[in-house]
Amino acid sequence: GCGSGGDSKDAAADKGSVVIAGSTSVQPLSEAVAEAYMDSNPDVTVEVQGGGSGQGIKSIEEKIADIGALSREVKDEEKASVADEYVVAKDGVAVVVNKDVKVNDLTLEQIKDIYTGKIANWKEVGGDDKPITVVSREEGSGTRGAFTEITGVLEKDDAGKETDKTTKDALVQPSTGAVKKTVGSTPDSIGYVSLGALDDSVKTVKVEGIEATVDNVLSGDYKIQRPFVYVVNSEMSDTAKAFIEYATGAEGQKIVEENGFIPVN
């Protein structure tokens, strides 16, 4: 949820600097918002650092950043370091295949079976008789977290213990760009990428008949999505607060939408 309102134009808030650190997936979006924010508040500088979601948590712990950026939800063991969290955007995760794949539509069940290795040939889901090359993201990736959870690749037993059942035969790529390049150039391959990064180098398939679009994610029809989260520690400055308000506010959300991500407010 969003912090309490308050006057964003008070004297302390439109001066000084804000440092954001964390997920490289959120980084470009943060930069775009920061750019716009600095245009309207010339006395504020917003610096955006990368490093990864884990680094985001660490940075606010060590108090070297004002805001930590995560491309996933805050995990239970991290809750202690986080005073407050704000979802600034949502990102749809599109399922993509190589252009030579004839399949256009997959169910969540089929996707799960493909990723757990149960289905290994395209003919089993209505395509050519070709073995499927599965491309996934690395362990710990926010994208992978959302994808495996929603498709059921991540199995929860009764005790609540989670196991990621992704087939060991999956190629693992460390970033959205790498997955896109891999799927684009490897015949018969399937992968999943952030909605904001989609282009025509790969073919996007419908999931349960629903196309991966901003609108469908917004409406909730398209199921595979994850949040972009800003986290802060207990010593949030007014400047940082003002920036978060801007990002979650109307102007910020417009930028979110312009960049192919899904606004939350």
């Binding site: 884990g54 362990e139 990736s141 693992v172 390049k181």
Partner: protein, 296 residues
């Protein structure tokens, strides 16, 4: 004069100490960060476990060790002869001017970021392996299959990346061999090849050896490029055409999103890596001593 000399010696000593201190600090850092997981999970389980599923709490790195050794050895097997060949070519066969140009070009390779190598590998090497090398292999073994993301691809890209180190440092050493030795050999009726292999290379062996050690370090430590083209499957590769994950690649790939325990496990990989480097270096030193020792 004497005090100045003493002062300079002190300064030089301090510089040497600083570089040593750097090693010590980073060693302490790795060990202290990685030790908890090693202790709780068990060193044996950690090293010989065959399952790497950190989100599921399984930290077995045997497949990663296998992948690392495969890719590194592959890179050395391709890179060392190529690099030495180039060094000999530059020092002995090329005119000075062209040699300088060639060397400068090879040194350019050192400045290209690994991501670029990675994407180059994705765009060129992986498809080439899938479309040209695989069919060749299939003529011998019809069951062979490969997506192109493979140990071989990693080895090739690494071999290219370590070339500047091997070529530059070896070439320096070869060029520094005094002309007298060359003359003595030629005057005995040795041809150029014999002079090179029997007199010049042995005389330059210390430098060549150093270049190989450094290159090996680079090969093991390199991450980003390998990461993009080996497929990162945490399975023990059965052939060079299989996909594999490496220790360093896994660290680089997962560190940024890891939770605290997962992160500690990644540091524990760092410890193992440290030990592996120490072992490989020792082996290399031993081999070198066998070859007649390093020139003092």
């Amino acid at each position: 004069m004497k005090t100045r000399e003493k002062a300079i010696e002190k300064i030089i000593l301090i510089c040497a100490a600083v570089s040593t201190l750097a090693v010590a600090l980073i060693t302490i850092f790795i060990f202290s960060s990685g030790f908890p997981v090693l202790k709780s999970y068990g060193v044996f389980n950690f090293i010989f476990g065959e399952n790497w599923r950190p989100t599921g709490g399984q930290y077995g790195i045997l497949p990663l060790i296998a992948g690392t050794l495969g890719v590194t050895l592959g890179a050395l097997i391709i890179g060392i002869p190529t690099g030495l060949g180039c060094a000999v070519f530059l020092a002995e066969m090329l005119k000075k001017r062209s040699a300088r140009l060639f060397k400068a070009a090879i040194e350019l390779l050192a400045g290209i970021p690994s991501v670029v190598y990675g994407f180059f590998g994705l765009a060129v090497i992986v498809p080439v392996i899938r479309e040209y090398i695989l069919p060749l292999v299939q003529k011998i073994n019809p069951d062979a299959s490969s997506s192109g993301f493979s140990v071989l691809a990693g080895a090739i890209i690494l071999a290219i990346m370590i070339l500047p180190t091997i070529v530059s440092i070896s070439e320096n050493s070869i060029s520094a061999v005094p002309r007298e030795f060359r003359e003595a050999s030629l005057a005995l009726g040795a041809d150029k090849r014999e002079t090179i292999t029997k007199v010049i290379l042995p005389a330059a062996k210390s430098g060549i050896f150093s270049s190989i050690i450094l290159a090996m370090g680079r090969a093991i430590g390199e991450t980003m490029a390998v990461l993009l083209i080996t497929g990162n499957m945490a399975q023990i590769p059965g052939s060079p055409l299989d996909s594999a994950a490496t220790l360093t690649g896994t660290i680089a790939m997962e560190m940024s999103y890891a939770t605290p325990e997962h992160q500690s496990a990644l540091f524990a990989i760092g410890i193992i890596l440290f030990v592996i480097i120490v072992i490989l270096n020792s082996i290399a030193q031993a081999i070198m001593r066998k070859f007649g020792g390093m020139t003092a």
